[in-house]
């Protein structure tokens, strides 16, 4: 296994490059994706190497990005659209939920929209408003879309390629505050043998409490697990990876063993992913649960000013607090 140490951002960049090489129909489009390489440099160098017909700087209009990408998809292209920040995807919402999500269904399966919508999401980088949102529920609630997110460089590298290769329209959420974190990436392993895109993964086995997280919160939960272990409590941490469809096989199996579950995400609690996870786990593991499934999430306020985001976002302490509460129930 020939691995390299890459940041999560560089792993995405490398995955995109690989996708452009593999399939001439793959194109990248978005604001500033060309010479600038995107504000996070995820498309760095790609326009230089693949030309401005494959890596397209678009006018500043998100509905336009997604809407024209639909047309390009009908023409046979595989557009990878970058939305610059989470908070700027909403102008494209109509095209995403009414067109991208429904085209295959409406056409009786005659049309497919093999589009990937890349969105850097989540907080923790001290940004101004609209730059730290977690809109995953808006997409995962929408039938016809699939939604995935990665938590580490290896997954970033593989999952972006899998998403591009998939004929389903996929919202690909990138944990922006983890862009700079490094990890080993196997650049050689064939994509066909990779771990399936829509499968969750146990990233730390444990026996006492099942902790479910995705994207930026996976690392937070792993740190919580390390801290808990020092206190003698073994958390099993599951990285969901696919937010729609959810893969809860591992979660059910785990909760049936542990009897306790904590769900962690940055997005507000009310009608978020955590609610769905709690509802399904409760239904499936009703007789195993020693405590209700607890949620550790952002609060139900707009994303607050950066100087209080640390208190807004779930952190190690809040995860451990919830773990404690599952024992105190």
């Amino acid at each position: 296994m020939a691995t390299e140490t890459l940041t999560l951002g560089k792993a995405l960049n490398t995955g995109l490059r690989r996708a452009l090489e593999t399939d001439p129909k793959v194109i990248i489009m978005g604001e500033d994706v060309g010479k600038l390489g995107g504000v996070f440099r995820i498309t760095d160098g790609l326009q230089k190497d693949f030309g401005d017909q494959r890596v397209i700087d678009t006018p500043l209009a998100e509905s336009g990005i997604i809407g024209t990408a639909v047309g390009l998809a009908i023409r046979g292209y595989r557009p990878v659209c970058e939305i610059q920040f989470d908070g700027f995807v909403y102008p494209a919402y109509d095209q995403i939920v009414s067109q991208v999500a429904k085209m295959h269904y409406r056409s009786g399966g005659r049309l497919s929209i093999p589009m990937v919508i890349r969105i850097p999401f989540g907080g923790g980088i001290g940004a101004v408003e609209h730059h730290s949102e977690s809109p995953e529920a808006y997409f995962a609630h929408t039938a016809g879309l699939k939604v995935v997110t990665c938590s580490n460089p290896q997954d970033a590298y593989v999952m972006i390629q899998q998403a591009i290769a998939s004929d389903d329209p996929i919202v690909f959420l990138e944990p922006k505050r983890r862009y700079w974190e490094k990890g080993q990436v196997d650049l050689e392993a064939p994509l066909s043998e990779a771990y399936p895109l829509h499968s969750a993964r146990v990233v730390r086995p444990g026996t006492d409490v099942t902790v479910l997280a995705y994207g930026p919160m996976v690392r937070t939960c792993l740190e919580a697990a390390t801290a808990a272990a020092e206190d003698g409590r073994e958390l099993e941490v599951i990285d969901l990876r696919s937010l729609s469809p959810l893969d809860l096989r591992a979660a059910y199996e785990s909760v049936k063993r542990t009897g306790r579950a904590v769900v962690v995400h940055e997005a507000p609690s009310n009608i978020g992913l955590g609610a769905e996870l709690a509802a399904r786990i409760t239904e499936e593991c009703f007789y195993s649960l020693e405590s209700p499934v607890l949620r550790v999430t952002g609060f139900d306020t707009p994303y607050p000013a950066a100087r209080v985001e640390e208190e807004y976002l779930p952190d190690l302490d809040r995860v451990l607090d919830a773990v404690d509460r599952t024992f105190g129930w």
């Binding site: 194109i27 009908i74 049309l111 699939k146």
Partner: protein, 391 residues
């Protein structure tokens, strides 16, 4: 007229009678056939482009046949809705010329992106006219293959399809399919109301910036449901184009010849690499917005009457008669064909099967989804639980 390219053949042509000079016409409204059926030799657009057509008699008769056919089939659909066989119908009544003219101007390689009212264009593309009735009956959401017929699905969300058309046209350029007579072009249909939507204006931006081979075809039928044109603009719509950097032209949308000429020119310009343009087909929605609508609440009878005098079919008939291109037998034969096909349409609609409920779980994702597999299975078990019961 069969699917094909009228005006592209070399058979003997009837030169347009010189009854009116185009130069004398209104540059703000390209017209080649007056409401009285007088042919105008050529007409000049606001940017000086000369528009003319050069049809054989057979082609003229073919256009007439198209117009009568699409009106008759449309009327049948309206009747079917009244009798409860369709949930809704959006009639094209009054807009036949804009649709047949532009629809016939498309070459076989061109791709059209319709709204929900382009039954006439659909007909010209050679699609079975029963297709849209499935959508309005509620048995499916559109039955034809967009790629086979180069005619995309109907789009109900106002304006959304203009961006799809723009992207598609960008793809034509990326595929290198412009610059020759065989080049491809796309056409995006939308209404006057749609011009207010952000998406349509974004499509203008994109088409311009990427010099997309795309014709924006706006049927200005004077209303967006109840709202008259003045709720969307205070200047003629075709003028919108200039500010985005491409030409705009207003054509008499009740004149099938002018609609053809203007669209053909615009598409050919696009396919040769000259980028996008906007056509405003000035027409009138003679009927209700849809069968759910009651236009008496918002418009007066005299307005409708004044437009009746500009009927798109009457003028072609008058022209064919005056020029002796067609005789009574021809008109009777066309009417008879229309009657036959509409009866046939009706029969087929009445026999349209309802979909199996469980098919609602199909085609959500090309690759499927375990969640849906589970829901489908549960649904099947649930439905089976009623079998044999009184339910």
């Amino acid at each position: 007229m069969a699917k094909g390219d009228p005006g592209g053949t070399t058979r003997s042509r009837r030169p347009a009678p010189r009854s009116k000079k185009g130069a004398a016409g209104n540059p703000e409204l390209v017209q080649l056939l007056t409401p009285d059926g007088e042919r105008i030799d050529s007409a000049t657009g606001p940017d000086g482009t000369e528009y003319r057509v050069d049809f054989t008699d057979e082609e003229y008769r073919g256009l007439y046949r198209d117009l009568v056919m699409v009106r008759k089939l449309d009327a049948e659909a309206t009747a079917l809705q009244r009798q409860g066989e369709l949930g809704l119908w959006a009639s094209l009544l009054g807009q036949e010329a804009a649709q047949v003219g532009s629809g016939r101007a498309l070459r076989s390689q061109d791709m059209a992106f319709p709204t929900y009212r382009e039954h006439g264009v659909l007909y010209c593309r050679g699609i079975d006219p029963i297709m849209p009735l499935g959508l309005f009956r509620g048995v499916d959401q559109g039955g034809w293959d967009p790629n086979e017929f180069k005619f995309n699905m109907y789009t109900i969300v106002i304006g959304a399809q203009t961006l799809h058309a723009t992207g598609y046209a960008m793809g034509i350029t990326m595929d290198g399919k412009i610059g020759t007579d065989d080049g491809e072009a796309a056409i995006a249909y939308f209404g006057d109301g749609a011009t207010s939507q952000g998406d349509v204006n974004e499509a203008f931006v994109w088409a311009s910036v990427f010099n997309a081979p795309l014709v924006f075809f706006c049927q200005n039928n004077q209303y967006a449901i109840s709202e008259p044109l003045e709720r969307q603009t205070r200047v003629p719509l075709y003028q919108r184009a200039a500010g985005f950097g491409f030409p705009g032209v207003r054509v008499d949308g009740n004149d099938v010849l002018a609609s053809y000429a203007v669209t053909r020119t615009a598409l050919d310009n696009s396919r040769h690499g000259q980028g996008p343009s906007l056509i405003e087909a000035y027409t009138y929605r003679m009927g209700a917005h849809t069968t759910s609508d009651d236009p008496t609440r918002y418009r007066i009878a005299s307005e409708v009457e004044s437009w009746q005098a500009k009927d798109p079919i009457t003028r072609v008939k008058a022209f064919l008669e005056k020029q002796q291109i067609a005789d009574a037998a021809f008109f009777a034969e066309v009417d008879e064909q229309a009657r036959r096909e509409s009866v046939h349409l009706r029969e087929r609609v009445l026999n349209m099967p309802n979909p199996e409920p469980v098919t609602m779980f199909d085609n959500v994702y090309p690759n499927g989804s375990p969640l849906l597999d589970e829901q489908r299975a549960t649904f099947n078990r649930y439905m089976e639980s009623f079998e044999g019961s009184a339910h």
